[in-house]
């Protein structure tokens, strides 16, 4: 994003007051070392990744120069979301957006202004990166402390 569209960190952080409702891992989700809660955290991660699915589909449409990469990102995110869902004791508690919700979200994200489109794409990717970092830490911590195979 930074190289291709000059949408970089620092340059646009002023616009962070977005209403994109991107999934975020917060302290209450039990994904940090203090107050780590396996069930809660995995549920959050799985739900979050399922939610990101729609956003990534949007990115697929807007970030056309990297289409292939985004496609595989979409695919592997879905795969990861499903895997983590299987690790949750009560998989039904994982929230998977239904197709109506997805459709309305996609419609909401769309904008006829290229600028807004770019910012939206940037924010989605930024928050997805942050979400994945937290996912990596939490899953690794689980793997190292509990004896199960991922």
């Amino acid at each position: 994003m930074c190289e291709k569209f000059t949408v970089c960190e620092n340059s646009m952080e002023m616009l962070v007051q977005n209403n994109l409702n991107l999934p975020k891992v917060t302290e209450e989700d039990g994904c940090l070392l203090s107050g780590f809660n396996e069930e809660k955290c995995l549920r959050k991660i799985s739900s979050g990744l399922f939610t990101f699915q729609t956003y990534l589909e949007y990115v697929q449409e807007t970030f056309t120069s990297e289409r292939q990469k985004v496609e595989s990102l979409c695919y592997s995110t879905k795969h990861l979301a499903t895997t983590i869902r299987q690790m949750v004791i009560n998989p039904d508690e994982v929230i998977i957006p239904d197709s109506a919700t997805q459709k309305s979200l996609l419609a909401k994200l769309k904008s006829d202004k290229t600028w807004i489109e770019k910012i939206t794409t940037h924010l989605i990717l930024r928050d997805f990166t942050s979400f994945m970092e937290k996912t990596v830490r939490a899953v690794r911590y689980l793997k190292n402390t509990r004896s199960f195979s991922v």
């Binding site: 190289e3 291709k4 569209f5 000059t6 002023m14 917060t26 070392l33 970092e133 830490r137 690794r140």
Partner: protein, 461 residues
């Protein structure tokens, strides 16, 4: 690097927004500390006159005294002129007339504080943020430094911290308590104000994120170990710095190493473990190794480099006894004549500059006059070629006579890079001498040398 020419607007817009945002930030007031009554301020080097205001008294009856230098009489008179103030002129001056104290004035000799240029860092995710700035001069007594921090785009009140001066490092340091649960990527605004009697100075507002100011301590206990039977390997191991708890957050590392005679380091990136095998070490040479660390996802800055650790790869005791080197050992020891072995000592080969090594510069090994390298090279190269051919023929001749005695006499147990089969012992083959050519012609990438390690070519001489 090259950006596609985009519309000019987007590039302009962020700058405008930034400027607007900066202007909109309400500036924290940073007023000078008020002077208490009966205090006089003077800058170093300036002139100041203290006045006793003992009106109606004859000039010669008023005397002055500086408390810290009691007993030493200063000038007499109602007005005490002090010229070219120095820092140690500061203190309490009292005037008296006929033994009766009239007035005490406090003289401050100080400059207004330096403008703080703050930088913040954090040793790990579970440490407080430290914000600090260096000073050119020791701060005047009574200088106060304050730091405020608040989340950006919020109306919340800023938390205030007092900063302390550490004379050893000549820095003001403020400890910024991080409330748990603050998003690592959310921007915080840090403002500073330093004040003393002579004035005040506000630092520019700084926008930081908790993850952006991470700067781990350098890795600890770096060790370099030889691996038995691997003359070109070194195993580097290190430990997380004690300030970083690896249970949850991890670091990634960068390792750099150089053979002691070389000046430049080879760097290895993206190391996530706490050990690394170097596979292209120079035989029998001491190597210097350092490691540094960064948060695993690249947040924040790299640590400083660790302390240097040194190590030498394993050396075959037998090699020490006879002749060392990968090239002479290509041949069964009995077959290698003294002359041949001596022309190709590995350390000389390793030390060749690139261009020479690239076109038969082995001959250069003896004398590095460098005056006319090319003529020398040509001569040397052809000489070597001749010798090699000759040796090849001799070897082949002997081999055939011994009726294929040793097959594969020397396995390449010498290094991870299988030695290029310069001379596979295949006595029967009519082409058996051709593989002998490469050593003389300085193979572009002979087995044991890593092409990426430029030190082989540019080494200290």
């Amino acid at each position: 690097m090259a950006r596609p020419p985009g519309p000019p607007l987007p590039r302009l817009l962020p700058a405008l927004l930034l400027a607007a945002a900066a202007a909109a930030l309400p500036r924290r007031p940073c007023a000078p500390a008020g002077l208490p009554p009966d205090t006089v301020l003077g800058r170093p080097g300036a002139n100041v006159t203290l006045s006793c205001r003992g009106e109606g008294l004859a000039n010669d009856t008023v005397s002055w005294e500086l408390e810290t230098r009691r007993g030493r009489r200063l000038a007499q008179g109602d007005a005490l002129p002090l010229r070219g103030l120095q820092r140690d002129d500061a203190g309490r001056y009292s005037c008296r007339a006929g033994g009766r104290p009239l007035r005490t004035l406090r003289l401050l000799v100080q400059d207004p504080p330096e403008v703080p240029r703050v930088s913040c860092y954090r040793r790990s995710h579970d440490r407080d943020v430290l914000c600090e700035w260096p000073l050119r001069q020791k701060p005047a007594p009574g200088t106060q430094a304050t730091l405020w921090v608040k989340r950006r785009f919020t109306a919340e009140n800023a938390t205030e911290q007092q900063c302390r001066y550490f004379s050893k490092v000549q820095k003001f340091v403020c400890r910024l308590k991080v409330p748990p649960g603050v998003d690592d990527n959310k921007p915080l605004v840090v403002s500073t104000c330093v004040r003393n009697g002579a004035g005040s100075a506000a630092g520019e507002d700084k926008i930081i994120t908790l993850s952006g100011v991470l700067k781990p301590d350098p890795p600890l206990n770096v060790t370099v170990r030889a691996l038995e039977r691997w003359p070109q390997r070194l195993r580097v191991a290190w430990a997380y710095p004690s300030s970083w708890d690896p249970r949850f957050y991890w670091l990634r590392f960068q390792v750099r190493y150089r053979p002691e005679p070389a000046r430049t380091f080879t760097e290895v990136d993206q190391v996530t473990q706490t050990s690394l095998d170097i596979a292209d070490a120079w035989r029998g040479t001491r190597h210097v190794v350092q490691v540094r660390a960064q948060e695993e996802f690249g947040h924040g800055a790299w640590s400083e480099w660790s302390r240097e650790a040194v190590g030498t790869p394993w050396t075959d005791p037998r090699d020490l006894a006879s002749e060392p080197g990968p090239f002479s050992s290509q041949f069964p020891a009995e077959d290698g004549t003294d002359g041949y072995g001596a022309t190709l000592p590995p350390e000389l080969f390793g030390a060749e500059p690139a261009e020479e090594a690239a076109d038969g510069g082995l001959a250069e090994a003896g004398g590095r006059s460098g005056a006319a390298p090319y003529t020398f090279l040509m001569a040397g190269g052809s000489l070597l070629l001749g010798i090699a051919l000759f040796v090849g023929i001799v070897v082949r001749y002997r081999r055939t006579r011994r009726a294929g005695g040793r097959r594969g006499a020397k396995a390449d147990g010498a290094g991870q890079h299988a030695l290029v089969p310069l001379a596979p012992p295949s006595p029967g083959s009519p082409l058996s001498e051709t593989p002998l050519l490469p050593p003389a012609a300085a193979p572009p990438a002979p087995g044991p040398f890593h092409v990426t390690n430029l030190d082989y070519f540019f080494s200290g001489k």
